[in-house]
Amino acid sequence: MTRGLRLAGQFVVIAALFAGVAWLSDRPVYRQIPEGAGMMMLTFVHGADRKGECRRLSPEEIAKLAPNMRRVQDCPRVRRSLYVELDIDGRKIYAADLAPTGIAGDGPSRVYQRFVMPAGKYDVAVRMRDTARADGFDHERRGTIDFAPSQMFVIDYRPESGEFIFR
C-alpha cells in the first residue's frame, strides 16, 4: 500500500468515526413528554407556623444565661408540617404533609411536583394548611385553565401576599 493510499484510508476511517460521534451528539431526538401533552407544576417554598408559642423567661432564667445570650423570650424554632392538596377536575391528584427542612426542623417546607397532562380545559383547585388548625385550609385558589400542548403551567405560592398564583 502506498503512503498516500494508506493516509487516505486512515483519514476515511477517522472521519467516519468522528461523523458517528457528531451524529450521536444530537440524534436520536428524545421526547420527554407525549405529543399533545404539557406539564403542570406545583412548586413553592413556604414555612408553616412554629410549633409552640413564645414564652416569656423569668428573671432567674435570664440570669442563668450567658450575658451575651440573654433574651426576654424563648421561642421554639421547630415549624409545623405544611399540608397541601391539588385537585384537577375534582379529583385529588396530590396531597402531602410537607415536613420543614433543616436539621433543627426550622426551615421552610418545600414542594416541587410535576404532572404531565394532555392539553385541554381543567378545573384546578389548590389548598394549603400552614397553621395549627385541625381541619379546613388557610389558603385556597380555584380556577379553570386552558392547557396548551407543551405548556408549562406553574402553581406557585407567594408568602408575602399569602396567595397562590397560576402562571
Binding site: R6, L7, G9, Q10, F11, V13, I14, A15, L17, F18, A19, V21, A22, W23, L24, S25, D26, R27, V29, Y30, R31, Q32, I33, E35, A37, G38, M39, M41, T43, V45, T101, G102, G107, P108, R110, Y112, P149, S150, Q151, M152, V154, D156, R167
Partner: protein, 531 residues
C-alpha cells in the same frame, strides 16, 4: 465473573486492534493512543473554548443571540470553532470510556496501577461536569432541558435550602447573573480537570500526552471535515413558559438524563454512586498477587541508571552511593511501585548469562525469578528441542506464547531478557534460532517492553544485541494471548526457515562449560563476526 468480563472485552479489543494496526501501523494505532488522544482533544476544547469566549455574551437574551451570531454570521471560523468545541468534547468522552475499558481488559488497573485507575474516576466526574455546564451556556431548548434536569438531580440531595430548579419555572425567576456563574463554572471545572489529568499520569514513566503527529493531523483534518459537514447548532431559544418536549440530546454527555424520568432522581444517584464505588474498589477485586519487587545487588551495580531509564513505572531512582565502590550513584527500588516485570534486569549491563561465576548475579534482579533461574530454564528448555530447526521460544507470560510448553521459556516481559541471552543461546549451540514472543504490538502489558526489546535488537538502546548475532536466527512475534494460533503458525514457519539454513558457525569466545550443555554433544563451532 470479573475475569470473564475482562477476557470477553480483551477478545473484542483484539478483534478490532489487528485491522487498526494493519491500517494505521502499530505506532499510529488510535487504540494504543487513547490517553494521548484524550489530552489532544482536551487542548482542542480549551483552545476553541477560549476563541468562542471572545464572541460569547452572558445574559438571558444575549447568551443565545451571541451563540447564534457566531454560528450563523461567522460560521467559517467561529462556527467551525463551535463544532470543534462540541465534537472534541464528545470525542474526549469516547476516548475516556474506551481507554477505561481497554485498560480494564488488559488488567492494567490492579497492583501498583491502582493509582492511575482511581484518579481516572474524578476525571470522569469533572469531564461530565465540564460538558454539562457548557450546554447550559447556549440557552437554547436543550440548555433549558439540561438546566431543569440537572437542578432537579441536585435538589434531590439534601444540600440546598431552596430548590434550584425553581429558578427555571418562569422567566422572571432567572437572572443574567446565573450565566456569569455558569461561565465561571465552565472555566473552573475544566481547569481542575486538567490538574487531575496531570495527577493521573504522575506515576507513569514516559506517559503519552501527545499523539503521533500524523495521527494528530489526521484527527484535526477529520474534525474540520465533520464540522463543515454537520455544524453544531442551537435548538431554538429557551422558553421557560414551555416544556422543551423534544430535544436532540448529546448521548455522550447526557445518557442518564432520560433515566431521571423513568427511574427517578434517587435511582440515578444510586446508579452513579454504585458505579463510582465499583470503579474505586475494582483494583482490589481481587487484589493482584505480586511477585517480590526487584532488588539491587550493590556489588554488581555501577550506577549506570539504565534500569531507572527503562522502568515503565517510575519504580527505580538513582540515589547517592551508600557503599565504598567508586561510583557516584546507585539504583534504589521503590517496592510499592515495582510490578516485578523484570525490564530492569534486561537493562542491566551486568546481566550477562556468559558469566561463569557459580552463582550468576547481576546488578538488579527479581527475587522470585532471578537471571540465574532464567538461564537455567533456557538451558533446560533447549534440551527438549530435537526436531531440525530447533527454535527456542522466549515468551512473555501475557502474550500468545505464554502458555506454550515445549521449548518455551516464559517470563513476566520479554524485555526481562538481556540481549546477551540470545547471543548465549546461539553461541552455545543451545538452539538454531530464537523466537521472541511478546504481547500484541500496541497492547504491551508492561507498556514499554516491546519498544525496548526492539530498540535493543536494533542497536538503538543499551544494552545492545551484539552485531555478531545473526539476525536471521531471531524472530519477533507480537500477538495477544487470544492469538495463539497465529503465534504457533509464526513459530512453525520460523522453524521451517531455520531448518533450511546452513549450520550456525558461531562460537563463544569462552570455552564451553558443562553448564551450557543441554545434554547432547555437538561439534564445536567457529567464531564469526565481532566479539
Amino acid at each position: 465473573m470479573i475475569g470473564a468480563i475482562r477476557s470477553g472485552l480483551r477478545a473484542g479489543f483484539s478483534l478490532i486492534e489487528r485491522p487498526f494496526e494493519r491500517l494505521f501501523t502499530p505506532q499510529l494505532n488510535p487504540l494504543a493512543q487513547l490517553g494521548a488522544l484524550g489530552f489532544f482533544f482536551f487542548w482542542i476544547v480549551a483552545v476553541s473554548g477560549t476563541y468562542l469566549f471572545i464572541f460569547f455574551d452572558t445574559g438571558i437574551e444575549r447568551a443565545y443571540q451571541s451563540v447564534e451570531h457566531l454560528t450563523r454570521d461567522y460560521w467559517f471560523h467561529a462556527g467551525v470553532m463551535r463544532s470543534f468545541h462540541r465534537y472534541a468534547s464528545d470525542l474526549m468522552v469516547v476516548m475516556v470510556v474506551v481507554h477505561l475499558l481497554r485498560e480494564f481488559s488488559l488488567d492494567h488497573y490492579r497492583g501498583v496501577r491502582w493509582f492511575s485507575w482511581i484518579t481516572g474516576l474524578p476525571i470522569i466526574w469533572l469531564l461530565y461536569a465540564s460538558g454539562i455546564t457548557g450546554y447550559w451556556l447556549v440557552w437554547d431548548k436543550l440548555a433549558q432541558y439540561v438546566a431543569i434536569v440537572s437542578s432537579e438531580l441536585l435538589d434531590w440531595l439534601p444540600i440546598f435550602g431552596e430548590p434550584i430548579a425553581r429558578n427555571f419555572i418562569s422567566t422572571g425567576t432567572l437572572t443574567s447573573r446565573f450565566f456569569s456563574l455558569m461561565v465561571f463554572m465552565h472555566v473552573a471545572v475544566p481547569l481542575f480537570l486538567l490538574f487531575i489529568m496531570w495527577i493521573h499520569i504522575l506515576r507513569i514513566s514516559r506517559p503519552k500526552m501527545n499523539p503521533p503527529r500524523t495521527l494528530a493531523l489526521l484527527s484535526l483534518a477529520a474534525l474540520l471535515a465533520v464540522s463543515i459537514w454537520k455544524p453544531a447548532l442551537s435548538q431554538g431559544h429557551a422558553d421557560l413558559a414551555k416544556v422543551p418536549a423534544e430535544v436532540g440530546l448529546d448521548w455522550f454527555y447526557l445518557p442518564l438524563y432520560p433515566l431521571t424520568n423513568i427511574w427517578g432522581n434517587g435511582a440515578v444517584w444510586a446508579f452513579l454512586g454504585a458505579f463510582s464505588l465499583m470503579i474505586a474498589l475494582m483494583p482490589w477485586l481481587p487484589p493482584l498477587r505480586r511477585a517480590k519487587a526487584a532488588r539491587i545487588d550493590l556489588a554488581h551495580c555501577n550506577g549506570c541508571a539504565r534500569c531507572a531509564e527503562d522502568c515503565p513505572y517510575e519504580a527505580i531512582r538513582m540515589v547517592r552511593r551508600t557503599d565504598d565502590l567508586p561510583f557516584p550513584t546507585q539504583a534504589e527500588v521503590n517496592p510499592s511501585l515495582c510490578v516485578s516485570c523484570g525490564i530492569c534486569v534486561g537493562a542491566c549491563p551486568s546481566s550477562t548469562p556468559f558469566r561463569r561465576s557459580e552463582d550468576l548475579k547481576t546488578g538488579i534482579d527479581l527475587p522470585d525469578y532471578s537471571l540465574k533461574e532464567l538461564r537455567e530454564r533456557v538451558i533446560a528448555a533447549a534440551g527438549t528441542l530435537t526436531k531440525p530447526g530447533r527454535v527456542l521460544v522466549l515468551a512473555c507470560e501475557h502474550g500468545a506464547a505464554g502458555g506454550r510448553l515445549d521449548g518455551t521459556v516464559v517470563m513476566p516481559c520479554v524485555a526481562m531478557m538481556p540481549p546477551s541471552l540470545i547471543d548465549f543461546v546461539l553461541s552455545r549451540d543451545l538452539a538454531d534460532g530464537v523466537a521472541v514472543a511478546g504481547c500484541a504490538e500496541s497492547a504491551c502489558y508492561n507498556r514499554l517492553g516491546i519498544q525496548w526489546t526492539e530498540q535493543r535488537f536494533a542497536g538503538q538502546r543499551d544494552p545492545y544485541l551484539r552485531k555478531r548475532v545473526p539476525r536471521d536466527r531471531i524472530a519477533t512475534i507480537w500477538a495477544s494471548a487470544l492469538e495463539v494460533t497465529k503465534a504457533q503458525s509464526a513459530i512453525a514457519s520460523f522453524a521451517a526457515t531455520i531448518a533450511g539454513l546452513p549450520p550456525l558457525r558461531l562460537r563463544s569466545p569462552l570455552p564451553v562449560s558443562s553448564l551450557s550443555r543441554p545434554g547432547k554433544d555437538r561439534e564445536p563451532a567457529e567464531v564469526k563476526g565481532d566479539s
